[in-house]
Assembly symmetry: C2
Homo-oligomer: 402 residues x 2
């Protein structure tokens, strides 16, 4: 029997998804599981997006490939109806449609770094950054942030400390941040931009949660850092923005021509982005601002529900996030992975339980074992119930530390 | 200004798609281009596939992620309504939904080989095998076949000749073959299977054109090579089979548990396959056999139209293929890349021209510069017209060799 490659056998399993078999088993046994573990919102997709797909299905003869860079109608639409409206001034040639945000940052990482190179990330970070870094032989160097300080970046000297001349090629940041919900301020982004310019580094800015910000100021995109036009690569999602996660449509944006030429070669290797999803994305471009306003109000309500409930639990600490739909919470537990598994396999309240994501995998720093990521993606009554179940679980968990 | 990685700058551009800017320019100038260059059929998709998407759009609330391995309904459906029917006996756990055939073989290559390892391919081969091998640091070793011999494999000693103990990890073959249209026989596949078993190699069988076979015998899948259950990884397409190329749905199938466990990790890193496409694929499972019979008759007609026309041209040789919808033709030209570009930029007949793919990139062997791949994916009247334009072009081409 032939053996599989070292790369694929030692590849880390998704921490976010590796608990799925346990939740599947619980659900198969009739247990209701409140999914606080994945950023899979239950918010309605805009009608114009779904209708666009249905409309194209009428009298459809066959579904062809599109250009590898995506349908021109979608690329133009994104530039004119979305990016320019929010103050990101780009040309169509500076945007390429990807198979969701995942492909955008995965390809961006390969465009900036070879095997053996380094990329600086702000910790905690989205776990698949590490997965792709592993696959491409890239080393992630981390700038740590502190839950007790609201995950603010500690100052640019922390970036300098992990900068290796000749090896460091980029900073990769998600803003708003998955998993912490931290919204990096304009000042923080300007500092990072200055750092990248000084050392001639790329700045990969994962802004898939841009429309999920809860402050009064508009989101400050890395695309608008002055003087960083050749440094910044924007990894963006369309499907996430419109609660169409399954559509798998995102894009890469950059003023850097070499980056876009390389991105096209990667795009050609997978032929084209999913076309039904591209139709949905074209339709979604007509989403009215009121949709975003309503979604924003809803998430503020959910955030406050979750964060208030968490902080009311004994021994629990959760900062109030200003972006995305996650918060990282410190729990009075021995080990988040054991706790998350125990919730799925042991803990039941009226045949219900909750699922959370251990935050361990969002850190490269060892030893942070008492944090979990909570996605506040349920409606308020369900979220309240889920918080109640979590609170009772914490009292009963054999590995509790208080 | 930061420089992009060596990997992305030296990555080969898709030979199939790099002529696209020239065809775009021709079309923008009002020229009709007959696309014989890509395997993008104009055959109608099954109504049941399109209707399934339209039906799911009705009252759709939002489009969630699915399991990374795909919707269970689709996985079960593929096993029960497709694979078992055609004699490929697998369990649901032995199948995972991929983002088209491209992802399936791209991931399979990474599962079998590390950087520095070797994979044996039969030449000419699908050009993206080389693209992915480049990205993963895998060396392709080639077993050459001869157009004048109908691209038959030359005997297993040719495989032995390129086998490197400790380095060779797999054979990768497409059957029917893109680009040659060669349908490898049961005997050829058994020989390759025996070779893989003897040396403990994986056999990645890319069978995305399985339903496009033009002999009276059924297609012989690598999955049915006796004693090779742990060796074979099937890379398959759903969207290609049903003329839904843009849906981007394929799958990986293997009895090897380590392979499937690794495949799931790769699948999790990109979250899930496109969901509208999965709905189309679920609907497509109800496609009646009569659909395939009609498509087959149509392609036989197109193949004969193309191949007969090609062989009637002075100095042209094209074998009659028994699978897929391509043929490779030898033309009386100096250089296929120059010729293909000349067709798009210079040659016009009543404001029309044709686009073909230079076969150069389907070979690792240097020096084969007079072959092109012709995709017979147009309706017969259009195909006849395209052949006429090609015939006249060959008479006028400045680099003609007769």
């Amino acid at each position: 029997m032939p053996g599989i490659s070292k790369k694929s056998s030692s590849m880390p399993a998704s921490a976010i998804r590796k608990l799925v078999p346990f939740s599947d088993a619980a659900e198969a046994a009739g247990i209701k599981v409140y999914h606080l573990n994945v950023g899979a919102p239950d918010i309605k997709s805009p009608d114009c997006a779904i209708n666009a797909v249905a409309e194209r299905c009428k009298n459809m003869h066959h579904l062809s490939y599109t250009n590898s860079a995506g349908l021109m109608e979608l690329r133009k639409g994104l530039v004119e109806k979305y990016y320019r409206k929010i103050g990101i001034d780009i040309e169509v040639s500076e945007l390429l449609v990807d198979v969701a945000g995942s492909e955008a940052f995965s390809v961006a990482m390969q465009i900036v770094a070879d095997a053996g190179d380094e990329i600086i990330v702000v910790e905690p970070f989205y776990t698949n950054y590490q997965t792709f870094a592993f696959l491409y032989g890239i080393t992630l160097r981390t700038v740590s942030t502190d839950i007790r300080n609201g995950f603010a970046i500690p100052g640019i000297e922390a970036f300098e400390a992990v900068y290796t001349p000749g090896k460091t090629k980029a900073v990769l940041i998600s803003n708003p941040c998955n998993p912490s919900g931290k919204l990096f301020t304009k000042e923080e982004m300007l500092q990072i931009g200055e750092f990248c310019r000084r050392h001639d580094l790329f700045l990969i800015s994962d802004e898939v949660y841009r429309e999920f910000c809860y402050t009064d100021e508009p989101h400050f995109s890395a695309m608008n850092i002055p003087g960083c036009g050749q440094n910044v690569i924007l990894a963006d999602s369309v499907s996430k923005r419109y609660n169409l996660c399954g559509a798998r449509i995102g894009c890469m944006v950059s003023h850097n021509k070499d980056v876009m030429a390389a991105a096209l070669k990667f795009a050609q290797s997978r032929l084209c982005p999913p076309v039904f999803g591209q139709y949905a994305a074209i339709g979604a471009l007509d989403t009215p601002q009121s949709y975003f306003d309503e979604v924003r109000q809803e998430y503020i309500l959910r955030r406050d529900t979750a964060v208030d409930a968490l902080n009311a639990m004994e021994g629990v600490y959760a900062p109030r996030p200003y972006g995305a739909f996650y918060t990282v919470a410190e729990l009075p537990i021995d080990d988040a992975e054991s706790f998350a598994k125990w919730l799925l396999t042991e803990w039941r309240m009226d045949s219900e339980t909750v699922m959370v994501t251990p935050a361990t995998s969002f850190y490269r720093t060892q030893g942070i074992r008492n944090q979990v990521r909570i996605a506040y993606v349920l409606e308020v009554p369900q979220l309240k119930r889920a918080m109640h179940i979590l609170e009772e679980a914490l009292k009963a968990y054999p590995g509790r530390t208080i």
